[in-house]
Amino acid sequence: MKQTFCVIFKKESSIIAVDSISCGPHCLMNVDLQTDATLQVDISDALSERDKVKFTVHTKSTLPNFKQNEFSVVRQHEEFIWLHDSFVENEEYAGYIIPPAPPRPDFDASREKLQKLGEGEGSMTKEEFTKMKQELEAEYLAIFKKTVAMHEVFLCRVAAHPVLRKDLNFHVFLEYNQDLSVRGKNKKERLEDFFKNVVKSADGVLVAGVKDVDDFFEHEKTFLLEYHNRVKEASAKSDRKIRSHKNAADDINRIASTLYTLGTQDSTDLCKFFLKVSELFEKTRKIEARVAADEDLKLADLLKYYLRESQAAKDLLYRRGRALVDYENANKALDKARAKNKDVLQAETTQQVCCQKFEKISESAKQELIDFKTRRVAAFRKNLVELAELELKHAKGNLQLLQSCLGVLKGDT
């Protein structure tokens, strides 16, 4: 599925860069989500303006509840969050792993650099300025592509889920071609969320302490807890590593420029030498930057995504644990009611409701967790293979450049 999107970033009123790129199929994290013809969702276009990104969500469906077979709407990040939150708050979906919400598009760092570039325009040579501008544009583009990918993955996951894909809010999200009038949470609501999270974590600890009768869930609980923490650490470390890599590539860039100047100034035979080496470093630096970018895409993003998904899985276990506790409490209440012979019917109904809820969650949770493992293994496999292949490709490219340059330089002496 080809996608094209436009990147425009404006500084005051002058447009600095306009670029149109098409990239290959996304859905990096999930391998088997595009096979169902009844509902296919993707992000076909995206526009970046001053503070927001506008995604064009494109749907192809043979389902009867849509008015057309193919249609597109424009959505912003807040609307994705609204959709995600509506899933989380829906009691019916308590037994499912809710696909994690995409992170907010964050161009702040890039924008800051762009501003610094603009301010420093007077103090650099024309070549330096153009070079830096190109780099910044490339960086901006990379962040842009990533945010599009992450929003798309979210939608694909929802569309692939047998129950969530039927959700009414989801259909409205896909089809309603007006603004959903979803505002971001205001301060009060965010504060409420914060407290809810605190309560949930405290509760989660209590709930986690309850030993589960079921071996499968007990194992999953221990596994997920440890896994989540390890993924978090691996994700942080891989980010640091990639940043160092980018820094080193930047240094090589500067070295290449200085060598070029040396080459133009030198009065000895070294001038040709310097120019050749400068050219070489320009090329190898581009490759190094690509290596860092690919590692970012294939490794860092993978880890970040599974950090979020493992959190969603943990949330599922929490909900089940909560339901179990409620069920056990209801049992105890029923026993007490029977002993006192008071409000027995009410206690019985409550107990039955709790029991049904718990069993429903348990059943779907089991399947969800099994699917989670399958997805995870497949995603890691795909990304690790692609990572290794890309590393090889780049190393071979680098090697070839270096060897051919060495050949020329040695031949000259």
């Binding site: 390890r230 090697l399 330089l409």
Partner: protein, 498 residues
């Protein structure tokens, strides 16, 4: 890096860093395929196995041990007007004096490149040892000279020298030769911070690296010094290399009387430079000065960028190692067996890559960064030599002004009819005429010397840079080859995840 074998004997510490330094050098040496895996420890090198780059790609610092054999009527006192050849090492084939060398007329300078002699001398600095304790402690280095030149009393000499001895040597050479226009290679810089750590006995990674950095720099300094044909024959140099006892060079201490005098002189020079407005009649000098000015700026910039690269690569290595650990932990907690194994393999690959980055950063540093640092200092010496010429010119001009004044004074006295004072005035005129002539001669001599020196310097510069850059690119090639090896081993593991 030289003398890896003796590095292990260092009293300081046998820490992992030590071992990995050796591994690094061995690794670089082993991996660059070549018939001779040159071992760089001083004891093993025989004069015929070392040579210029063309023939010995393994030897990282082979430019440090050249084979140039000199067997010409060059044993003239240093101050003579006879031309000294521009020394450029040629082939590793043992010393046979070129017959055409002796065909020289006093006027040849730049043409001397054609007449090549070969030197045969190798110097190594090794075995740093700490002597004493606390703030009075100092490092002593073993300086080994192997040569077949007859000006040396023995074929092989070993002496112990401390850092201030090197500084003392430089200071003597500078005071003797700089005013004649010779480019005297500067000694490595003092570092109070670095030395204090060593003195205090902190046997950690940074002080080990500091000692190694200094040892390497001292070696390069000596080799550059003896490469200079006039300096090689200097009695101070010979004494430094040969005699077991050397009077302590106290005047090199920063806060000594001599040190302060030096600082005052430097300041005075700087002021003079600003006030001397020279009428440059020779465009060559103006052009060269501008070129060196530009070169200085660019080399400093390059040096800064390379230092930054070294730093970031070290960081990359550390971060890769830390990531490798976290990947291993992740693999441990992953409950799918095949994925778990693949993640462990990934961790191993990353660990190997981290070592690769570390090795590469050493190459960045010892090959490129130190070379650039050396040249930045050398160019300062070159600029100093141009300044000396300006001073010589100023002296000559001053003498002319003085002569003029004396003549005017004599003319006045002739009218005043004072015969005894007249005689004195005439004598003074003769004296100053002599000084003017001497001034002019000195100026021409220094100009000639500088031309020759700059020619030699540029030749060496071209060679040095070429050699080092090629060596560096080869190290980069090695890194990429290793990367390919590691990832190729990993790929089937990743594909095996089922």
């Amino acid at each position: 890096m030289r003398s890896t074998g003796s590095y292990a004997h260092q009293r300081c510490v046998a820490c992992a860093q030590n071992i990995s330094n050796q591994k690094l050098v061995q690794g670089i040496l082993d991996s660059i395929p070549s018939p001779e895996a040159a071992c760089l420890s001083a004891e093993d090198i025989s004069p015929s196995s070392n040579g210029p780059r063309d023939d010995d790609p393994d030897d990282l610092f082979a430019e440090a041990t050249e084979e140039v054999s000199l067997d010409s009527p060059e044993r003239q006192p240093i101050l003579s007007d006879g031309p000294s050849p521009a020394i450029t090492p040629v082939t590793p084939v043992m010393i046979s004096p070129r017959v055409d060398v002796f065909d020289r007329s006093p006027d040849q300078d730049e043409d001397e490149e054609e007449n090549r002699d070969t030197f045969d001398i190798q110097i190594s600095v090794s075995d740093p040892e700490k002597v004493g304790d606390g703030m009075n402690a100092y490092m002593v280095y073993k300086v080994t000279t192997k040569t077949s030149l007859s000006i040396f009393s023995r074929d092989e000499v070993c002496v112990k020298r401390r850092f201030s001895d090197f500084l003392g040597l430089y200071s003597k050479l500078a005071s003797k030769y700089m005013h004649m226009g010779y480019i005297v290679p500067p000694a490595p810089e003092k570092s109070i911070v670095g030395m204090t750590k060593v003195k205090v006995g902190k046997e950690d990674l940074s002080s080990v690296e500091f000692v190694e950095k200094r040892r390497s720099a001292l070696e390069r300094y000596l080799l550059r010094t003896v490469k200079h044909p006039a300096l090689l024959k200097d009695p101070d140099v010979l004494q430094f290399l040969e005699s077991s006892e050397l009077p302590r060079a106290v005047s090199t201490q920063a806060l000594s009387g001599a040190g302060i005098l030096r600082m005052v002189n430097k300041a005075a020079d700087a002021v003079n430079k600003m006030t001397i407005k020279m009428n440059e009649s020779d465009a060559w000098f103006e052009e060269k000065q501008q070129q060196f000015e530009n070169l200085d700026v660019q080399l400093r910039k390059l040096h800064a960028s390379v230092e930054s690269l070294v730093c970031h690569r070290k960081e990359l290595s550390v971060n890769t190692a830390s990531f490798a650990k976290s990947a291993a932990m992740l693999g441990n907690s992953e409950d799918h067996t095949a994925l778990s194994r693949a993640l462990s393999q990934l961790a191993e690959v990353e660990e190997k890559i981290d070592q690769l980055h570390q090795d590469q950063s050493y190459a960045d540093f010892y090959l490129i960064s130190e070379l650039l640092g050396d040249y930045v200092r050398l160019i300062t010496a070159v600029k100093g030599v141009f300044d000396q010429r300006m001073k010589a010119w100023a002296k000559w001009q001053d003498a002319q002004v003085m002569l003029q004044r004396k003549r005017e004074a004599e003319a006045k006295l002739q009218y005043a009819n004072k015969p005894d004072k007249l005689q004195q005035a005439t004598d003074e005129i003769r004296e100053w005429e002599g000084k003017v002539q001497q001034g002019e001669r000195d100026f021409e001599q220094i100009s000639k010397n500088i031309r020759r020196e700059v020619g030699r310097f540029e030749k060496d510069r071209v060679k040095d840079f070429r050699v080092v850059i090629i060596k560096y690119l080869e190290s980069l090639v090695h890194t990429q080859q290793q990367l390919i090896k590691y990832w190729e081993a990993f790929l089937p593991e990743a594909k095996a995840i089922a």
